[in-house]
Symmetry: C2
């Protein structure tokens, strides 16, 4: 999506440790109308599918996930990063390693929110090593539901997580794929 | 908002420890079209103000905050619950005690996302003791910006946080205010 690539070049900042700071429009501060435009693009990309539910993970995937779910007219479900007192009953879960934070967490969802007849579109703001996405795919499969695919705002192509999932047959659509980045510049996959 | 009260009676569950479980439509699984209806009600309630930014806190406030921000045509900013590697530079923060989880956390926002000329509407899914809301108000004031008020989906009126803030002059509009609840029933403030 050219508008997203342009916005990343305009407002993104590359920080130490392969971090792309897009807090000005994607997380921390969210450009709501631009997010709706990106969600419309996702709807267009997956218009050949029958999505019944959008799934994301807290926290920064929620706004984009909500915008995408509105486009499809379906509920949004988000996984929590640890079991809290607000999640009762049977849970679906996956162990996820976060390279960003250097720790492991448990992604959990109440089992009642994904049923075997669901066609689930997984949505997130970033895809790097693909660990969070892999955890969400496991959760959908454990529920006996189908994974329609994954829609990502920004994929760090150079970290390989997206291509590994594609080679396993998962449909991954990223609105911008970064081939390389450093403090001197960012190049996108064409 | 009568539709929300009806929905709470239909789909909410009262659990031990004063917890109202509304995971089926407000958090974990979000009823997107109903959330948009609630956001329109908030827009109507605050139509006499000039909101320039909506502020919430991760994670469960983000979907409602996003829906409200779309109505006003302004950005959404969300506070994080701990400082991570994705937040660089000067930060605004507040120490918040969570009665739900029995711990303290630091709500943080990059200082660049709230400026002195902002009129900030604070949005959250729940208001109980008001500690999170109080933390967000402190952050807005520390930024030199104005607090337009707070818009809440469900206020636990019996915990008093909302009324304490109202008595201090904060405009708090809750779409449903619970006066009392137990496993045998829920009563709303009229």
């Amino acid at each position: 999506m050219r508008a997203l690539e342009d916005r990343i070049l305009l407002d993104g900042r590359v920080l130490d440790g392969d971090i792309l700071q897009v807090g000005g429009f994607i997380n921390q501060q969210i450009d709501t109308s631009f997010t709706v435009e990106m969600a419309k693009e996702v709807f267009s990309l997956f218009s050949d599918t029958s999505v019944t539910k959008v799934l994301t993970i807290e926290a920064s995937g929620i706004a984009f996930g909500f915008a995408v779910a509105i486009q499809f007219g379906v509920p949004l479900v988000f996984a929590k990063k640890s079991r809290t007192s607000n999640v009762d009953g049977a849970v679906l879960f996956a162990q996820v390693h976060s390279y960003t934070h250097g720790n492991d967490y448990k992604a959990t969802i109440s089992a009642e929110y994904i049923s075997p007849d669901d066609n689930v579109l997984i949505v997130d703001d970033f895809l790097a090593n693909g660990e969070a996405l892999r955890g969400l795919i496991k959760i959908v499969k454990d529920a006996g539901a189908s994974v329609v695919g994954a829609a990502i705002e920004i994929e760090k192509g150079f970290q390989g997580g997206g291509d590994r999932l594609r080679s396993e047959g998962i449909r991954v659509e990223s609105l911008a794929v970064i081939e390389s980045m450093s403090e001197s510049g960012i190049t996108f996959r064409r």
